[in-house]
């Protein structure tokens, strides 16, 4: 477990070492719709750009009103934390991230960069075709950049590695359905986050023996209140650890940086690019792409049922408009189904005392007998 935490906390060092070790290139990406398989097939390490909590006195120059994530990513670039990144990819998602992408490029114009258009009409009849053509363009761009072609066997291997990773993560999450899970919410979340900044093959090795070790582990005597976490992407497990310290456990999440990242696999077909585009269009929608058929509420409810949660925490980044816009529907659905939830906003820092107050109260609300315990 510690190894995942290490990789996550020292992700910059990890990537630098990876470069030294393999002499390969590193691409940073902003959005969960970036087809990592293609990047990986080109022998490049795709790294998800995550925010951290460093005082930010540089981004006001170029940004206004951005969410803390996009802001801090630019902050880190400006301060050279990401000096090992050789290029940037953005697949159309949230506009703040598009902004971070563009603004970073204005500072560092010589970085390789590519923008992938992802249909807003995700379920549209013609969307998969335009997505595929975008992937084709992207593939070509990568080939021109690295100077070597991406063969079908490259793609097959990459797809295999990624599917394996997804399967393993599903295994970990499956453990959390137990009445007393052997794996804590914070640990599981660290695994997902780590797998977004690590080389997937190495990650899979680590995951395999982590899962083996988990099999021997004794579950906590009492999991306490089972919580579900939904809302804006996160880059750390502060919240998970907080609720665990209060005698509760987050058993399932519906975050772009969490379960949604690995939930569905690429279904193989001879047209690899089509297979990949279908995978990404078919992934659990992020709040922004959940446009016409509204899959999110159903997905959230199913997870809630499957993992027998007692209540839902909605943690939204300030100025995260996709989730802000989705709130009324999510609230409506949860209320209709009589699912208790607590909504709150987070920012660069997660104000410990205030959040503790909220979580304590919410947990006690879900399990009043705890008050007199």
């Amino acid at each position: 477990m510690e190894r995942f935490r290490e990789a996550l906390q020292n992700r910059h060092e990890y990537a630098r070492n990876w470069k030294k070790r393999t002499g390969g290139k590193v691409l940073g990406y902003y959005e969960p719709y970036v087809p990592e398989e293609i990047v990986y097939a080109a022998g490049i390490l795709p790294v998800r750009l995550l925010s951290q909590h460093e005082p930010d006195d540089v981004t006001d120059r170029q940004m206004y009103g951005n969410c803390a994530c996009s802001r801090d990513i630019l902050n880190q670039f400006t301060k050279g934390r990401y000096d090992y990144i050789d290029g940037l990819i953005n697949a159309e998602g949230c506009q703040w991230m598009l902004n971070a992408f563009q603004t970073t490029l204005n500072n560092k114009p010589d970085l390789f960069n590519h923008y992938i258009f992802v249909p807003d009409y995700v379920d549209g009849r013609t969307s998969k075709d335009v997505m595929r053509s975008e992937l084709k363009v992207f593939k070509k761009a990568l080939e021109n950049w690295t100077g070597k072609p991406i063969t079908d066997s490259n793609l097959d291997r990459a797809i295999e590695v990624y599917n394996t990773n997804r399967r393993l993560m599903r295994q970990v999450y499956e453990l959390r359905r137990a009445d007393n899970p052997v794996v804590l919410g914070s640990e599981a979340m660290e695994m997902v986050l780590a797998s977004q900044v690590m080389d997937k093959e190495e990650m899979n090795r680590l995951l395999r023996d982590a899962i083996a070790k988990l099999a021997e582990r004794k579950p906590r005597s009492d999991t306490g209140v089972r919580l579900m976490l939904i809302g804006s992407p996160t880059s750390d497990v502060a919240l998970e650890e907080l609720v665990e310290s209060l005698g509760a456990n987050i058993v399932i999440d519906e975050l772009c940086t969490g379960s949604c990242y690995f939930w569905n696999e690429v279904i193989a077909q001879s047209d690899r690019l089509m297979a990949i585009s279908l995978r990404y269009l078919g992934r659990p929608h992020c709040a922004l792409k959940d446009n016409n058929w509204r899959r999110r509420p159903a997905h959230i409810y199913q997870l809630y049922e499957d993992y027998q949660a007692h209540g839902v925490i909605i943690a939204k980044q300030i100025y995260c408009h996709p989730h802000g816009t989705d709130n009324p529907l999510i609230w409506k659905i949860l209320r209709e189904r009589n699912i208790p939830f607590h909504y709150f906003e987070r920012d660069t820092t997660l104000p410990y005392e205030e959040t503790r107050l909220r979580m304590e109260a919410f947990i006690n609300m879900l399990k009043p007998e705890l008050v007199l315990k």
Binding site: E354, L357, A361
Partner: protein
């Protein structure tokens, strides 16, 4: 030094008629807020003494001071208190407490004690956070909301405003109510915005009362939006320091279309009293 307009009056009281030696169980609750600290001592669910002081930089010290004042001149000592519960922002800094409980629970119970068991909606108007609590008919919390991030610190904002306006904080509410019709509120997002925007209104030739009205209406409106999220129902009770500011409560009542219950207790005590009541339950349980 000039007058300290922001300073609100601290208070304490100890019962003379209750013979605490006869009491079966004596319990206490301490509520350390970011701005004020309350202690409440109860003998068999009767309020024996309380104190309401400004929180100092050392929370432990504040808790002790509040407790000392609540004990007052009575011969009671900490040893006589069977069980103490700490709550509030600094709940973990009550050295003599056996247990800490979250504010929401304490305020809910306190409110039902102070305003009667009919209370369905509790709005706690604190210095740092505002909370809306919705109760079932029986003692269980149905839903609660705490203000958005950008709305923190309204109470402290009002202290700052008292300074800038040079209006004693206790008089603010009354003075603001002297206007005929409320002007549009100033920025309802953040108290820092609201303060400067309100002061700026003088440029438009606003009177003091109008500026105060625009400012307090903004805060009331802000809270109104938050309270709406828990689907408030009668009976309504206001607790916390700002509950003493009629400029806010009257407007909030108007917007919510409800009249709040009244109580002979100091609304700031809700948390501490609730904590003491929980302490009582703990004793009974043992």
């Amino acid at each position: 030094m000039t007058q300290e307009y922001w300073r609100w009056t601290e208070s304490s009281w100890t019962s003379k008629d209750i013979d605490w030696k006869k009491a079966k169980t004596i319990t206490a609750g301490v509520d350390i807020g970011t701005n004020s600290t309350q202690a409440a001592i109860m003998c068999d669910n009767l309020l024996f003494g309380y104190a309401n002081l400004r929180t100092g930089p050392d929370y432990r010290e504040s808790a002790g001071a509040a407790m000392r004042q609540a004990l007052g001149k009575s011969a009671m000592t900490l040893k006589d208190i069977r069980y103490t519960v700490g709550t509030g922002w600094g709940s973990r800094n009550v050295p003599f407490a056996q247990k800490t409980v979250d504010e929401i629970n304490c305020h809910a119970r306190g409110a039902r004690f102070m305003y009667g068991p009919a209370v369905k909606t509790v709005v706690d108007l604190g210095a740092q956070t505002c909370k809306a609590i919705r109760l079932y008919a029986w003692d269980r919390i149905r839903d609660f909301m705490i203000n958005d991030k950008c709305a923190v610190g309204m109470g402290r904002g009002i202290e700052v405003m008292a300074d800038l306006m040079q209006v004693p904080i206790q008089e603010m509410g009354e003075r603001s109510l002297t206007v005929g019709r409320d002007p549009e509120p100033v920025s309802t997002t953040c108290y820092a915005f609201a303060n400067t925007e309100a002061i700026g209104l003088f440029r438009e030739g606003y009177q003091e009362s109008e500026v105060l009205a625009a400012y307090l209406f903004a805060i009331a409106w802000r809270i109104h939006g938050m309270v709406g999220r828990v689907q408030p129902e009668k009976e309504l009770a206001f607790t916390g320091g700002l509950a003493k500011n009629t400029g806010i409560t009257k407007r909030l009542e108007r917007e919510m279309g409800m009249t709040a219950l009244t109580s002979e207790y100091d609304p700031q005590l809700a948390g501490a009293i609730g904590a003491a009541l929980i302490a009582q339950k703990m004793v009974e349980k043992a």
